[in-house]
């Protein structure tokens, strides 16, 4: 069984924890096994393998998320990188071609397509196994997961099944309804459309070639940015006659707003937080290193990160998006494949950043055109490459790089560096990448 996890979205609704780079599925707000905190993508990834140790997961995503996915899921997960965001139909076609051409997956093999951010119990992944079997059996071209509604929601699309059986033909799809219509749907036994599809790989490839002109994975990758933005629901599911729905009843939550997310948090606080005894139904998430003191707060959510601070009535927190759109700013914290960076200070003409590398990892070999940089090693041991020359560094060592100097650093242990950037035009865009020499990675001879 192949699973394509669709990882998209910018998740502005969970500002200030989510930002352009760190979408909601990457926020480590859920308690995992052993008490460690995990993100939604980490949770789904773990749950899939708990239920189906032999499943193969491919994450379909955009360039911006590759680093954080590597950081959270490790080096082994397959990532199908979209050169551009073109909605779910092109993304699924690209991932299908990736499986066929890069991974040589047989055309008859069942594929499950699923969003990366539902909060579900493990029975949800048992349903995947059954859906894969249905796809393999071929009684229909496409099998959807239909979620038993718990209330007449206006936020979801609906699937109207032909009958009330566990597996049933789809009579119709319905867009997000108003409340009265949602109530009628529920009375007719309608199900929420959770965006999960099962079919054979062959089916996806046929649909892809049927609607897009391309030869193979590499060709589609090349032509990707010219494809029409269209959803898989619209391009495929709603036009398919041989389609059925698999009824799922169990935990399923869309943790897309602070209001719903806090309901799934274990405990009321994360990070350095003091709630006095007069606080009621208040959740606080603090990623900063200084304490938050809450007194007399009722039905509130407070969230603080390097990007900003949200103080909101829980009901109001759903209306955050237009305000966050107004806050256009520097990303202050990002998890990368090699570790993370935190912006400590922004000034006219300079910026100070904390760079933390995981042992065995390294930055890209790169240079900047318009800024000088000074590194002070605060912790750990590593090797710096400056214009091809290698040098060992440890705590207190300083590395000065003028504009144009090619540089990188290899972390032999966990490495913390304070980087001061200096220049009139400091921008993340100002970066030229270079090939590295293989012996640098291995440590080589000094």
């Amino acid at each position: 069984m192949q699973i394509i996890l669709l990882s998209g979205g910018s998740g502005m609704r969970l500002w200030p924890l989510s930002n352009e780079i760190r979408s909601k599925q990457f926020l480590k707000l859920l308690r995992g096994p052993g008490g460690t905190m995990e993100s939604m993508i980490m949770r789904v990834y773990r749950q899939v393998y708990e239920v189906s140790p032999l499943a193969r997961i491919t994450v379909a995503t955009g360039k911006k998320q590759v680093s954080i996915i590597r950081n959270q899921l490790g080096d082994k997960v397959d990532i199908c990188v979209e050169p551009d965001r073109r909605d779910t139909f092109p993304a699924i076609c690209l991932a299908a071609s990736f499986l066929a051409d890069m991974r040589k997956v047989p055309q008859e093999e069942p594929v499950i397509i699923c969003p990366v951010d539902p909060y579900v119990g493990s029975s949800y992944f048992n349903a995947f196994v059954e859906m894969a079997a249905l796809a393999a059996a071929g009684g229909a071209n496409l099998t959807l997961l239909g979620l038993e509604p718990t209330y007449p929601s206006e936020k979801y699309g609906y699937i109207i099944p032909e009958d009330g059986e566990r597996v049933s033909r789809v009579a119709a799809f319905q867009e997000k309804p108003d409340l009265a219509t949602a109530r009628q749907y529920l009375a007719r036994g309608a199900l929420w459309n959770g965006g999960v599809f099962a079919c054979r790989l062959k089916y996806l490839l046929e649909k892809a070639h049927g609607q897009m002109d391309f030869k193979d994975y590499w060709d589609l990758y090349e032509k990707y940015s010219r494809q029409e933005k269209v959803s898989f629901d619209y391009a495929v599911a709603e036009r398919e006659d041989r389609i059925q729905v698999f009824r799922y009843k169990g935990t399923w939550k869309d943790l897309g707003t602070w209001n719903t997310l806090t309901e799934s948090m274990e405990g009321h606080t994360l990070g350095k937080v003091i709630l006095n005894e007069t606080c009621e139904n208040t959740h606080v998430v603090n990623e900063l290193n200084v304490p938050i003191l809450c007194m007399g707060c009722r039905d509130m959510v407070v969230a603080a990160s390097g990007d900003g601070i949200l103080v909101s009535d829980k009901g109001q927190s759903s209306y955050i998006k237009p305000f966050v759109d107004r806050i256009r700013q520097q990303v202050m914290y990002a998890e990368k494949s090699w570790g993370s960076f935190t912006v400590l200070d922004v000034q006219e003409g300079s910026m100070t950043i904390k760079v933390e590398l995981m042992p065995g990892h390294n930055l890209y070999y790169h240079s900047h055109e318009h800024r000088d940089e000074v590194w002070t090693v605060a912790e750990g041991q590593g090797r710096v490459i400056l214009d091809g020359q290698q040098r060992r560094v440890g705590p207190g060592d300083v590395v000065s790089m003028t504009a144009g100097c090619k540089h990188t650093v290899f972390a032999d242990t966990r490495l913390k560096i304070i980087e001061v950037q200096l220049g009139a035009e400091i921008s993340v865009e100002d970066k030229v990448k270079y090939e590295m020499e293989p012996q640098w990675k291995s440590g080589g001879e000094l």
Copy 2:
């Protein structure tokens, strides 16, 4: 007219803006002339000189506040530094001896003693002029300022006057009463005791020598830590028979809690703040460089600084003290005589600080026993002295100092430095100061 401004207190009630070093009187939360923000001490200092250009002000305070007073009031203000905090009677006696012995103030000159943190209109300082005239006239030994109460407060001490005249003999002093008693006092024409006293310098010196054994200012300074902690009210005012009260009716506010302070703020926000349209009666003060977004907040105060974040119902904010006592932490921001420092990052074994020097100022010449330091100049021009050797520095220059190295820096322009401290035991106590050579200050020859 001499004015002794008493500057004390730690002002934990305005956490996280106030801290050990930055007491409430130093918070720049009030709008001054020309729209610049000013602190309570800056406001009082400005108001005194607007009313009485010839008044002489001496600030009586502890060691910890000297730097921030110089930063906010400049080099010209006289500061009488208490070697230790011993309550108001010893502090006033030390300041009186300072005026007599250091400043050669004539014994007959009137002195006004006043706390540094009332929020008042300028008529309050007109009252000082009249009180000084009363002190000079000698109709009583001591003249108090009595504030016309606006409500039966339980927070203040009361003065019961003999009659309702503008100047009246004092019949009795009363401690902070309960509400019922406060109402009785108001019915009897009682006044709030604002802690303002007028007398001749001679009177203060007599009281000082009467109750403490010392020769002169230098001798009292020497013996200061051995003096009993006692208030001026208790030691002098309540025992004086020839005492009168001057009735003052005008703006007078004690901005000691978030609740009262926010009432005197112009506008509801300071710093980067967005309040959505559903917020009501909410005040937000943000000293951080990232935005605070408030949605659906009612009757709340939100305050954020490098030390922490407060989110409180306004009523609850008065009960902050025990919680702040629990938050024992590093001071993250401090204004010093030479500029300011901001802690950017604290790690095991290292700390990163932004040091900002005002033009023409310099650090003490000092060394550390247990830590190395690395400076990266982010902005400005200056001169570094390392073990007696002078060196010019500008943006991008790096200065590495191992433990024991004597160092300082002179700011020729506004200077910003990122300092990385490295060592197992990083502490503000780890500092040895040295004499500087006079030619360094002047720029000298390189």
